[in-house]
Subunit: 315 residues, 2 copies
Amino acid sequence: LRALIWDGAHARFVHDVPDPTLMPGTAIVRVLYAGICTTDLQILAGYMGFRGIPGHEMVGVVEDGPDHLRGRRVVAEINFSCGRCPSCLAGRGRHCPSRAVMGILGADGAFADLVRVPTANLHVVPDTVSDSVAVFTEPVAAAYRAEEQTRAFARGRTLVVGAGKLGLLLAQVLAQRGDEVSVMCRSDTARGRVEMLALRAVPMECAPLGADLVVDATGSPEGLAIALEHVRPLGGLLLKSTVAADHHVGLARLVVDEVTLIGSRCGPFEPALAALEAGQIAVEPLLEAVVPLDRGVDALAQAGLPGKGKLLLRP
Amino acid sequence: LRALIWDGAHARFVHDVPDPTLMPGTAIVRVLYAGICTTDLQILAGYMGFRGIPGHEMVGVVEDGPDHLRGRRVVAEINFSCGRCPSCLAGRGRHCPSRAVMGILGADGAFADLVRVPTANLHVVPDTVSDSVAVFTEPVAAAYRAEEQTRAFARGRTLVVGAGKLGLLLAQVLAQRGDEVSVMCRSDTARGRVEMLALRAVPMECAPLGADLVVDATGSPEGLAIALEHVRPLGGLLLKSTVAADHHVGLARLVVDEVTLIGSRCGPFEPALAALEAGQIAVEPLLEAVVPLDRGVDALAQAGLPGKGKLLLRP
């Protein structure tokens, strides 16, 4: 198969990677689209020390595996859990201590023609959801996880810091549950996207907003300090950015104002697919371009530029 | 009156500070004991930019004020709230945006013969609670605030990082509600105190504990990183340390493991006084020495030494 490979120093496009073999409990999925995520860029900056084929946002067709799945169009939950440990048995498989994570930790990902995924992780995509919408299921699921974790602040004033792809998904999901959402924008491009989604844009330099809930979706270590400026006493701050670098931040305000800071990672696929099927979350405005896989190294370099929308790789 | 004064550069003992005048809604309290807290040491390191008389842990006798309080032995809540703003009207006076805080922000404190306190902040001390126990009410209240904020993790495995005065109060309050509490100790002195309180001591170098709840009571910017090492996925981390310095910490684990970090400051006096009256919280083992107020500058220099117990100033 053809794939993008990260070797710890360079990302390369390789023509002749051995095909994944079918193992019990898995399926081989032919990738239709794979999305580039900020986490992929963090991996290229050292995050998790990953080596191999990145890519954890994808839609594909099952090429080999159980009969009931073969030929079906699927998306894949990215945490490959053991299914037997106390975390898994308690329904917290995303926190299985011996998990692999597709394209992030101990398992090759979807920047390739084919990817091997445990069948337990696959969700069949409804026919009415197009490929280029379905590929957003994983980040939309992450937004639903943030929703689950912040229900104490539902229907309040919410600020999303960072108008990137994930920020705009989070903003939509939180607005849908009734939050009064603002999105902090650094650029006119970002502001345009925010307003196209009928959300309120606020500039970076705005006075402290005293929001009930602030979401740091900047993907940068500076985001937390900005978020802390805008949360009210006793408010919530959801940290969605996984960054390889350390945070250098004064947390005295978090203590004095008794703010609750909530780490958030991966989310449930069911509500994400349902919302995409119902057309409740717009993903088209987030899409920048589709790039052939063999130009993926270039796409990775482009993906981190400010204001860039989602780049999809097509094998 | 005589007082310790912090001028932003030096702490001095001064003989001839003008007495506080009685204002409507306040009482003048003659200080019996005032406790030195790590926050006082942080103030001397620049925290809050405070200038004036520090001291926010105290017990005293009302010298002037309303008849029903005159001559009564009292402790004082430290947040002087406006009583009229939305925060105050919602019962969140400790987060009143225009509050003063006794000995910390905009109001002189108790390292003095006399201190002026709003009568709304005073609590009469039960007769059976001695002066040197009552002076611990404020930090015990802070421990009860931590208890309120962490009930989602009650009766689980709890680690308190930092065996200082506040850490040992927190450990006792959390053990009393049924948590299985360990306290991380740096010194043999600290370990001795922990074991005297019938709590479990663990060394600094122990392997990750995977605790349900970790409390950072180190009073140092390094505490958070240590705490993060020992909390389980989806666990809670209570940050009790107000430090003037920035934190330099990698928060990727907080995101990946979806940890909830809870800032915690001041607490409710009622359960604290009730627990002290019932003898449920031992404070005597935390007491190092009583120092005359005129030797307070020296006491402030001593108070931060590792393993030091509580120093009480006596005017």
